[in-house]
């Protein structure tokens, strides 16, 4: 019975739980509920992925209405993997949030915070599972609205302006997406993705379809913070509460990348995309994004902001993989979606643990803390190495496939950008290491102690997973390759 409804449950459970959590009293109840629900979602997501891997694509008709009239949830390996990432990161940030949220958010907002957090998970999971493009828009807005609210809960007042800025940019992006969807509907009369894919070829030469494609592309690019539409991201990540930064950095932009992938491969066929300059735009912006954002990361004075710019650069890697429009490239994109989620989660968790202790992430305030918080520092180094792409870490696998994809097409510029980006990553990661280790702690920070276990354990679980997935790639590369087969690339 539950078997058939797993996909729906993944969305419905956190959605229904949110209002309950919002009214839960006390200090720990809301957290406990969130913890349980995210754990359930994670288990369901894994179960769903296994089902897809064994039995192929799952199609779930919402309310028993057959597509294309009803809303369909259509799950192949790509979005099953994405759901695992989202639910997994949520489940591992939940224990972390108990201590971190208590430190950073006023007591009376706790229940609301966890409710928004659950809504955000609902939105992201919904985006990944739905097979209906309008439904996707709705989930996009659910996740976005809840993340604006989450970001605004940051301690400093800049969190408010950051959230506002994100809201304006995000809404413009969503509206662009909506325009595109409307135009597509006008031409095809359907909103179901699979159905759209079937009907689009008849009208593919129409200018309206091209316009629709353009609008959707720009809308999604805003959401995924593609360079140069990334301006909302650094502030949002810097001033949001640590838990929010961890969760959003690891999932939100990845989901947008997935939407882009779904658009390019399922809805618009790759034949159509090849006729448009989209792939060239992806490659160009990806390459420039990697170099410029990495270089900008180097000159930052705040650890969170440094990592935020690094995220913009890493999105460039994913977009480049998409732009190659080859099996190797798409494998790289999917694998990097996964790997970047775990490496950024580890890094932001480590910085969050330091923030927990000293209430700041400015580099000037972090001096010498690596010695006082050796375990946190260790996790940060592992995450950093993975970001650089040192062999033996998850990041290396991504780089490996990206470079193969670039060499396959003799694209030397992209190759140089990919490897050059790694070298720039060496510089900004080591900037963090040097600040944390070689500078002397200021006198008032002499008594800063190691972060509490509640923060350390999740951080280290994620950090070690970076190493694990650097050696065992059956779950990353293997699933990615299955996903691409299911998407019909050959």
């Amino acid at each position: 019975m539950i078997d058939q409804h797993v996909s729906l449950l993944l969305v419905v459970i956190p959605l229904l739980a949110a209002p309950f959590v919002a009214v839960l009293p006390g200090r720990h109840l809301a957290w406990l509920a969130t913890q349980i629900i995210t754990a359930i979602c994670f288990a369901l997501a894994i179960y769903q992925l296994l089902q897809v891997l064994q039995g192929g694509i799952i199609s779930y008709e919402l309310g028993g209405w057959a597509p294309p009239w009803g809303i369909e949830y259509r799950i192949d390996a790509a979005n099953a993997l994405l759901a695992v990432i989202i639910a997994g990161i949520a489940a591992i940030t939940a224990p972390y949030s108990l201590a971190s949220v208590q430190r950073e958010i006023p007591q009376h907002q706790h229940s609301l915070f966890y409710a928004s957090f659950l809504l955000c998970i609902t939105g992201l999971l919904g985006i990944s599972l739905t097979g209906d493009i309008f439904n996707l828009f709705v989930f996009l807005e659910i996740s976005s609205l809840s993340s604006y609210a989450l970001i605004s809960m940051g301690k400093q007042r800049q969190a408010l302006t950051a959230a506002y800025q994100y809201l304006i940019m995000g809404t413009i992006g969503a509206t662009f997406f909506l325009i595109g969807v409307g135009l597509l509907y006008a031409q095809t009369g359907t909103l179901n993705m699979a159905d759209l894919a079937a009907r689009l070829p008849e009208v593919i030469q129409l200018r309206t379809v091209h316009t629709a494609f353009g609008f959707i592309l720009v809308g999604v690019a805003l959401k995924l913070a593609l360079f140069p539409l990334h301006l909302w991201l650094p502030n949002a990540y810097t001033f949001a509460p640590s838990v929010v930064t961890i969760f959003l950095a690891a999932t939100a932009t990845k989901v947008a990348v997935y939407v882009m992938l779904r658009l390019n491969l399922t809805i618009f066929s790759s034949d159509f995309v090849l006729k448009t300059p989209a792939n060239e735009i992806f490659l160009t912006l990806g390459i420039i994004g990697i170099i410029v954002a990495s270089a900008t990361a180097i000159i930052q004075k705040d650890a969170k902001r440094l990592l935020a710019y690094s995220s913009v650069a890493q999105i460039g890697y994913m977009i480049i993989g998409l732009g190659f429009a080859s099996i190797a490239g798409l494998t790289a994109t999917l694998v990097h979606i996964f790997n970047h989620a775990i490496m950024k989660a580890a890094l932001f968790m480590a910085i969050g643990a330091i923030f927990y202790r000293i209430g700041s992430s400015r580099l000037d305030d972090l001096t010498g803390l690596g010695r006082q918080m050796p375990w946190t520092f260790g996790a940060l180094i592992i995450g950093g190495l993975s970001l650089i792409g040192v062999p033996g870490t998850a990041g290396f696998i991504s780089k490996w496939y990206l470079v193969i994809a670039a060499l396959e097409q003799d694209n030397w510029l992209a190759t140089i950008a990919i490897l050059g980006g790694s070298l720039l990553a060496v510089i900004y990661v080591w900037k963090l290491v040097e600040v944390l280790y070689f500078k002397v702690a200021t006198s008032e920070r002499q008594d800063v102690r190691e972060a509490p276990l509640l923060l350390l354990v999740p951080t280290w679980v994620i950090a070690l997973s970076n190493i694990y997935f650097g050696f065992d790639t059956t779950w990353t590369v293997g699933v990615a390759q299955t996903a691409i087969k299911m998407l019909g690339m050959s």
Partner: protein, 488 residues
């Protein structure tokens, strides 16, 4: 114990040692005992492996497959055996030395030092036994990272700067160039296994093979071919035992070893000869030999001079590899061992001088030889071996390298070797000679200065003696070198 278990043990023993060292942080004596026991056991293990290997047994170990076709695999072949033998034997000697040095010099953070040292040795073993290029690259990078805390051990601004250069160049070249070359090789051939005769032969045209070889030679920054040599002098901020084992033996030799492996097992020497891929690269090696020797002459700091001497000597091995003849491979491989024993002696002596007399500059050494006869005697032996005098092990490798230039009719290169030998004499010999024969500066006597701690002294004597013994008995290394060159 089965062969693969033996191999696994050799790889993991230093790692286990590192954990033990960290756990016994509070009891220095137990901690040092663990280091010594691990080092001694590893030495015995390596010797056992050599014996089994010489008996013709095949020793291999496959761990997991990271990406289909790309496994973590260890397999012993002659070159790796030779390198492992050198590193395995010298770890014990260095550990003895380090205990005397670190205590005599009252260094801080000793636990971190010994632990990182053990991890570095483990990755060196991994590099030596690597069964494919991917595994070698993995161990190569771990070696870089595990030696970083050793380079920056002093925690001073200079240490930080040195560490930056060290990491910047080593990671930069390996990710920027070497990784690219590895992926390109993988795409061209579909494999990264080491096979005698190479895997690239007939699959790339000559121009691209030259580009690929250049990517490898410069991408292996640890080989310190100019212009990517600056990390080695920068790494001299490390404590002397580190400079001795890692920056005269393990790290730098891992670099030239990688190049030898790539030449022999990825390209194949026949293919390099046919495609002329190495023709222009040879001159980079030759240039490095001469320029680094000249720079060494200008350095007054003892460790800096030794560092540039190392840069120069490493290019001997690169040259031997790039000559792509059997004699060159033999010479290069033997130079790994011969230079290791000689250079480690020199560094041990430099450290002993620092601990006992607190001197770092060569101009301050006048007359010190009479106060520290054993140290400077060993220094003299090491110098003569590096110069390549008969009666010392260093002669053999230079002999084969020279023969290789003759065989391939590179007369200019023969000239380079001869000039370089003269330069070696000019920058190395004055050091012990000044110490023995020059008068101490006015009004200074060295009555109070005694030899370094006994532990350090023992180590110095062992390696200096080895330099002598290797002249009469180079067989273990020679046989392995020949086997590597001939492929049996």
């Amino acid at each position: 114990m089965s062969n693969s278990e033996l191999l696994l043990l050799a790889l993991t023993l230093p790692l286990a040692g590192a954990i033990g060292i960290v756990l016994t942080d509070r009891w220095p004596n137990i901690r040092e005992t663990i280091t010594l026991v691990c080092a001694a056991t590893l030495g015995l293990l390596v010797i056992t492996i050599v014996q089994r290997f010489q008996a013709g047994e095949s020793i291999a170990l496959s761990l997991l497959e990271v990406v289909p076709g790309l496994a973590i695999r260890f397999e012993i072949e002659p070159l790796g055996m030779l390198f492992a033998l050198v590193a395995g034997l010298l770890w014990f000697v260095t550990s003895v030395y380090a205990i005397g040095y670190m205590r005599g010099h009252h260094e801080v953070n000793q636990t971190r030092f010994y632990a990182a040292f053990a991890i570095a040795i483990s990755s060196t073993m991994g590099a030596a036994f690597a069964g494919n290029l991917f595994t070698l690259f993995l161990c190569y990078e771990i070696l870089t990272l595990s030696t970083y805390p050793l380079v920056t051990h002093a925690d001073t601004p200079e240490a930080k700067r040195g560490g930056r250069v060290y990491l910047g160049i080593l990671l930069g070249t390996s990710i920027g160039l070497q990784l690219l070359a590895i992926i390109a090789t993988w795409m061209i051939t579909g494999t990264l296994d080491f096979r005698h005769g190479g895997i690239l032969a007939g699959k790339v045209d000559p121009m691209w093979s030259a580009v690929l070889l250049a990517l490898f030679v410069f991408g292996v920054g640890k080989a310190a071919v100019m212009p990517f040599h600056r990390w080695l002098p920068a790494a001299m901020v490390a404590p002397t035992p580190v400079s001795a084992l890692l920056h005269a033996v393990a790290v730098v030799k891992a670099g030239v070893f990688t190049i030898l492996k790539i030449v022999v097992y990825i390209f194949g020497i026949d293919f390099i000869t046919q495609s002329n891929a190495a023709d222009w690269l040879i001159w980079f090696a030759a240039g490095t030999i001469l320029i680094a020797s000249l720079v060494a002459m200008t350095k007054d700091n003892l460790k800096a001079r030794l560092a540039y001497s190392t840069v120069s000597q490493l290019s001997y091995i690169v040259l031997g590899a790039l000559l792509a003849s059997q004699l060159g491979i033999i010479g290069g491989a033997m130079h790994i061992a011969m230079h290791a024993f000689a250079k480690i002696t020199l560094f041990f002596a430099a450290g002993a001088i620092l601990v006992a007399a607190h001197k770092t500059e060569i101009s301050q050494l006048d007359g010190l030889g009479r106060a520290m006869p054993i140290t400077f005697g060993a220094f003299l032996i090491g110098s003569l071996s590096i110069i390549g005098m008969p009666l010392f092990g260093g002669m053999w490798s230079k002999w084969y390298l020279a023969m290789a230039t003759v065989e391939t009719q590179h007369w200019v290169l023969l000239g380079v070797l001869i000039i370089s030998t003269l330069l070696n004499i000019a920058y190395l010999l004055p050091i012990p000679l000044r110490a023995f024969f020059a008068k101490p500066p006015e009004g200074k006597t060295y009555n109070k200065i005694k030899e370094a701690p006994v532990a350090s002294l023992i180590a110095i004597v062992i390696t200096a003696t080895a330099c002598l013994v290797l002249f009469f008995y180079p067989d273990p290394f020679y046989q392995l070198a020949v086997a590597a060159a001939k492929g049996n």
